[in-house]
């Protein structure tokens, strides 16, 4: 069946099987491999992207369910060569080692900061509680999000 959706501001149309999972559509049909394919069971959160402005686990969405919706992936965080504060936070606070969970973590945390610009450590830990990181022990991810909360202008971010 033919599906049309908006991905990172651009309209895309593809002919897909209805059973195709959104994570595979994004990665394999559109080549946007920033969204990672992890546990396949909606536990790990590596595949988190935004659908109509809300973080969702794209391994548990069928592609036709996203038709007509607005999808935002990790590739859209960087704008005109400038990293989003959440990306710069992960860089400066060493919020990743292997990087597998990072795209999903950043999409969830960008959404958190958009709705709660000054989150407590507890609020950050709750927000990412459905996502698994096996490298950092979460400590540096929390620091990365706090860094992003404290550095919001592009001058601060790139300084």
């Amino acid at each position: 069946m033919q599906v049309t959706m908006t991905v990172n501001g651009k309209e895309v149309t593809r002919d897909v099987e209805p059973r195709l999972l959104l994570v595979h559509f994004i990665r394999d049909e559109l080549g946007l491999t920033g969204t990672h394919w992890g546990c396949d069971t909606s536990n790990c959160g590596a595949c988190v992207l935004w659908m109509d402005g809300e973080p969702v686990k794209s391994c548990t969405v069928l592609t036709p369910m996203a038709a007509g919706r607005e999808i935002r992936t990790v590739e859209d965080l960087e704008q005109d060569g400038v990293l989003d504060p959440i990306q710069q936070g992960f860089v400066s606070q060493h919020g990743l080692q292997c990087g597998f969970c990072t795209p999903g973590m950043m999409m969830t945390c960008r959404h958190l900061l958009d709705h709660n610009p000054d989150p407590s450590e507890h609020e950050i830990r709750v927000a990412i509680s459905g996502q698994i990181c096996r490298c950092t022990g979460y400590e540096n991810i929390v620091r990365s999000v706090r860094w992003a909360a404290e550095h919001t202008t592009s001058e601060e971010v790139s300084a």
Partner: protein, 291 residues
């Protein structure tokens, strides 16, 4: 790689349209809302519908509101909506207790109330919470609407009173004066099903319990409920001795099985302890002593 079997897909534009499509495609068609129960089942091929009817456009069913003396929850309300609902919390804090420990925040953005209770997983938390508050389920078909009281809704694991050509549209809970409610869950980690969970709803007139509901998840309690514990409490005083007797009855009346989440005797122990805790908290709330 987990992939569902081939399936056809259509979108419903209204409740009537969804029901018409269910009638047209027959029993091998399934409604899909958030998909966070059904899609995992389809990946495991435990569910293999031939047609999916997507009801995500039925946003007019996404409400949580007070109407008259009832709290009404639309089937398309998401878990996050119930977690954040002020009106639900005002009358039934049990729902916030439960929603804080249902799945995880990202899953709660998608999963729906109607989808969860129609999945009828034996470990599902809201089924126990709705059993505790004695909710009524509104089921619609082309011949109209029928209301199913909570104990008759669940017919067994993964089986409900919703028949072919029917759709759950709403959950109704009577708003009762002097009522307090609470939910207690033990889980291995965020996002997991309960090892055991208990919800309690208690209505006080002075120190006398006039009405009470005890719901249990994950321990094979019939209809997610302990009628035995309720009978002990109803009409008696709200005392520790009564709570202890009811908690013992709740533990004895359930039928947990040993699995990777723990041995049966541990779950039975949890059923007792969590019933006690839920009753204490529900009572404190009924007395206005705790939020």
């Amino acid at each position: 790689m987990q992939v569902p079997a081939p399936v056809e897909y259509e979108r419903a534009t209204s409740v009537d349209d969804a029901i018409a499509k269910l009638e047209r495609y027959g029993p091998e068609a399934r409604l899909i809302a958030g998909g966070h129960s059904l899609i995992p089942m389809m990946k495991l091929r435990l569910a293999r519908p031939e047609v999916l009817i997507d009801i995500n456009d039925l946003t007019d069913l996404a409400y949580i509101k007070r109407e008259g003396d009832e709290l009404r929850i639309g089937a398309m309300a998401r878990h996050r909506d119930l977690l954040e609902s002020h009106v639900a919390f005002e009358y039934y804090p049990i729902f916030r207790d439960a929603e804080e420990v249902i799945a995880d925040p990202v899953v709660r953005n998608r999963g729906t109330i109607g989808g969860s209770i129609c999945q009828a997983d034996p470990s599902e938390d809201l089924s126990a919470a709705f059993a505790a508050v004695k909710a009524d389920m509104v089921i619609q078909s082309s011949s109209g609407e029928r209301i199913v009281p909570n104990p008759e809704f669940h017919r067994g694991p993964y089986t409900t009173a919703v028949g072919d050509g029917e759709m759950l549209t709403e959950v109704r809970v009577a708003i009762r004066p002097g009522c307090g409610s609470a939910y207690e869950k033990v889980e291995r980690r965020v996002g997991d099903w309960a090892v055991t969970a208990v919800g309690a709803c208690i209505q006080l007139d002075g120190d006398t319990i006039t009405e009470v509901g005890i719901g249990l998840a994950a321990v094979s309690a019939q209809h997610f409920r302990s009628a035995g514990a309720e009978d002990i409490l109803r009409g008696g005083p709200a005392t520790e001795e009564q709570f202890a007797a009811a908690a013992a009855a709740a533990a004895e009346g359930c039928n947990p099985s040993s699995d990777q989440r723990g041995p049966a005797d541990y779950k039975r122990h949890l059923a007792r302890v969590l019933t006690l805790r839920a009753l204490r908290r529900a009572t404190a709330r009924a007395r206005g002593q705790e939020a």
